[in-house]
């Protein structure tokens, strides 16, 4: 192990690989930040380019991209309330309110620091877990996936603040949208109303672009002004305030990273659930939960740490079993296969040096992306001071091009525009958009694993309650739903005590 590690480090610090890494990180940041692009597109486009490279160089380039993308997505989440990908959405919760208050610099500073540290912790976690990776992955079968999806949904519903009921309603509608399209278990088409575009279901990326980027531009256009309200002229020092906040909230950082790395290792849902679970845990454990969603920097730290730590975690199922944790990982698998690396239990043994090279590249890229973010922060915050009348048409047209670029499908453009209207109406009538998005992400996984579980048990529901991991997850679901009520009761008791 140490030999391979030293070899990997030695290779990484050559001029060639450092420049590949920087190139990858830059591409990752750009693709992460432009709504609609994201890591999947970046990797898919670079596949032909890596064709002629030797495996080491290709892996360094890919590691750079994967390290740069999450933080790129956070930048647009903070500045424009536009998550680059679903896991970035949790950063919007408090990052964007901070930007509205004119504290985008601090939010970027905190996000950059939390991302870099979270990414490093995630990688450390992955190294520690490799020996027992197989056991972990084998623990999660369909019943566990179902419980995890439900846990993700409930954790998010309770983190919508004082809007639990409306959060649940949005979630219901999100699930409704998730059921549209080809039913993988039954093999039939549902709810498509004869529209061919809907065969593949409601697409997540156009929905995200519409609900966040376009809806935000509509909302800003109707009120005018700029993203940052108030006259506070921000100095660079605020960026370092953000950095300092991270070190002041080390427990939030560590907890977020641990949740990210662990949940990220569960294929399929890991990434998205991880950042939300981390966010809602931070909120639940906070002494001042009401301030979350209003621009509490802890919310940014918790979601960012988990968002970057998840990559280390999600490499485990990808490398060890060839089961991609996300669309991005699926493309990454393609890169591996094209270079003759067959994913599976033996990959870790046969190509130790390459794997360590990837891990080192990934961690260095996280740090590089964050440093770049810190350096650019003072210029990036200018976006929040730009007149909305410039910002709105530019962001809208680039976002629609991004929606098209994803699959070269004009239907995605129309979908993004329609979700823009839906998103605006949700803002206007105060329904949380985030539970809708998460339901859209988790809906098909929940349904698929529900049916698979029942096929495993020949139709008996006991399968959900007789497996230890599923039981543990069920207990967590109950706790996450009951905790707000319990807090309320205790507060009422103490409150009425004061009253008398």
């Amino acid at each position: 192990m140490t030999d391979a590690l030293i070899q990997a480090v030695a290779y990484l610090f050559t001029l060639q690989s450092l420049s590949y890494l920087a190139l990858g990180t830059g591409i990752g940041l750009l693709f992460g930040a432009v709504p609609g692009l994201g890591g999947t597109t970046a990797l898919a486009l670079l596949i032909p380019l890596t064709f002629g490279m030797d495996p080491d160089a290709a892996i360094v380039l890919v590691g750079g991209i994967m390290g740069g993308v999450p933080f790129g997505g956070s930048l647009s989440a903070i500045l424009l309330n536009t998550p680059g990908a679903a896991p970035n959405a949790a950063t919007c919760f408090d990052g964007y309110p901070l930007a509205r208050q004119g504290k985008a610099g601090a939010a970027i500073g905190a996000a950059a620091t939390a991302s870099a540290l979270g990414g490093l912790i995630g990688v450390a976690f992955m190294l520690a877990v490799i020996p027992i990776a197989k056991a972990i992955v084998l623990l999660f079968g369909p019943p566990e996936f179902f419980m995890l999806a439900v846990l993700g949904l409930s954790a998010i519903a309770v983190s919508t603040g004082g809007k639990l009921l409306r959060g649940l309603i949005s979630g219901g509608f999100g699930l409704m949208l998730a059921f549209v399209g080809f039913d993988e278990v039954g093999g039939g088409l549902r709810y498509t109303a004869g529209v061919e575009y809907l065969w593949d279901g409601v697409q997540l990326v156009p929905a995200l672009i519409g609900l966040f980027a376009i809806a935000e531009m509509i909302q800003l256009s109707t009120v005018g002004g700029r993203v940052a309200i108030g006259s506070s002229t921000e100095r660079l020092s605020h960026v370092f305030d953000g950095v300092k906040h991270v070190f002041g909230n080390l427990s939030t950082l560590l907890r977020g990273s641990a949740i990210g790395a662990f949940v990220g290792a569960v294929p399929g849902i890991g990434g998205t659930v991880a950042s939300f679970l981390s966010y809602s845990t931070a909120r639940q454990l906070s002494k001042d939960p009401e301030s979350f969603g209003q621009g509490n920097i802890q919310g940014v730290i918790a979601s960012e740490a988990a968002n970057n730590a998840k990559d280390g975690g999600s490499l485990i199922p990808t490398l060890a079993f060839g089961i991609p944790g996300s669309a991005e990982m699926a493309v990454f698998l393609g890169v591996l296969v094209l270079h003759g690396l067959e994913p599976g239990p033996r990959l870790l043994l046969d190509h130790e040096d390459l794997i360590y090279g990837l891990i080192m590249a990934l961690s260095l890229a996280c740090v590089m992306a964050s440093v770049a973010g810190l350096l650019l922060a003072r210029y990036l915050v200018l976006i929040t001071r730009t007149d909305v009348r410039y910002l709105a048409p530019i962001v809208t047209s680039v976002a629609l091009i991004g929606a098209y670029a994803l699959q070269s499908n004009f239907g995605d453009v129309i979908a993004a525009a329609m979700f823009g209207v839906i998103g605006y109406l949700m803002v206007r009538y105060d329904y949380p958009r985030i539970t809708l998005v998460i339901a859209l992400v988790l809906g098909s996984i929940a349904e698929r694993s529900y049916h698979q579980s029942l096929m495993m048990s020949d139709g008996s529901y006991t399968i959900f309650f007789t497996r230890p991991v599923a039981d543990t997850l069920l207990a967590l679901i109950i706790v996450s739903l009951a905790l707000p009520a319990l807090k309320l009761v205790t507060r009422k008791l103490t409150g009425s005590g004061h009253g008398h």
């Binding site: 649940l168 219901g172 409704m176 278990v185 109707t222 048409p393 047209s397 629609l400 453009v413 049916h451």
Partner: protein
């Protein structure tokens, strides 16, 4: 509850109708295909009924609100008048989508940015043109040149090309 209460509850009532329609369609599918959709639809309908009770401001609704969310109901905050909002939410994005469909992505982006800056933003022509050129150039550089994407070229071009 009065007309004011009904007015506040109009959104959940509309959503209730929508979810009812979804439920109706669901019962047209086989038992396995509709199992989870039906479950979700009924649960959401229950939440919507609660929300309607809360929004109409009945005593039951208030107590519910305290029980579920731990605080008094918050009623819809004020926004720009719906007419002006609709122009920004539907007319302008609709224009962009329509233009894109007809003349393709890059020309449509150019026209849209330019027109939007001039008409909504009230900016002078030179500045509107310059911004539109910059945006189109960025999109062209990134997608067509850098990534060799073929951006949508519009129906008109296809018709003209036969």
């Amino acid at each position: 509850m009065g007309t004011n209460g009904l007015r506040r509850a109009r959104v959940p009532i509309l959503l209730l109708l929508g979810m009812g329609g979804f439920l109706f369609v669901s019962y047209g599918y086989g038992p396995e295909e509709r199992a989870l959709p039906v479950l979700v639809a009924w649960a959401t309908i229950a939440f919507l009924v609660l929300e309607i009770l809360v929004q109409t401001g009945t005593p039951i609704g208030r107590r519910l609100e305290m029980l579920i969310q731990g605080r008094e109901a918050q009623f819809d905050s004020e926004h720009a008048p719906i007419g002006r909002a609709l122009i920004h939410a539907v007319v302008w994005p609709g224009l962009l989508v329509g233009l894109t469909l007809m003349i393709g992505m890059l020309p449509a982006s150019f026209l849209y940015v330019c027109l939007s800056l001039k008409v909504v933003g009230g900016k002078p022509w030179p500045r509107a043109l310059a911004t539109a050129v910059a945006v189109t150039a960025f999109a062209w550089l990134l997608f067509e040149w850098g990534l060799s994407y073929r951006l949508y070229s519009g129906v008109l071009l296809e018709v003209l090309a036969g």
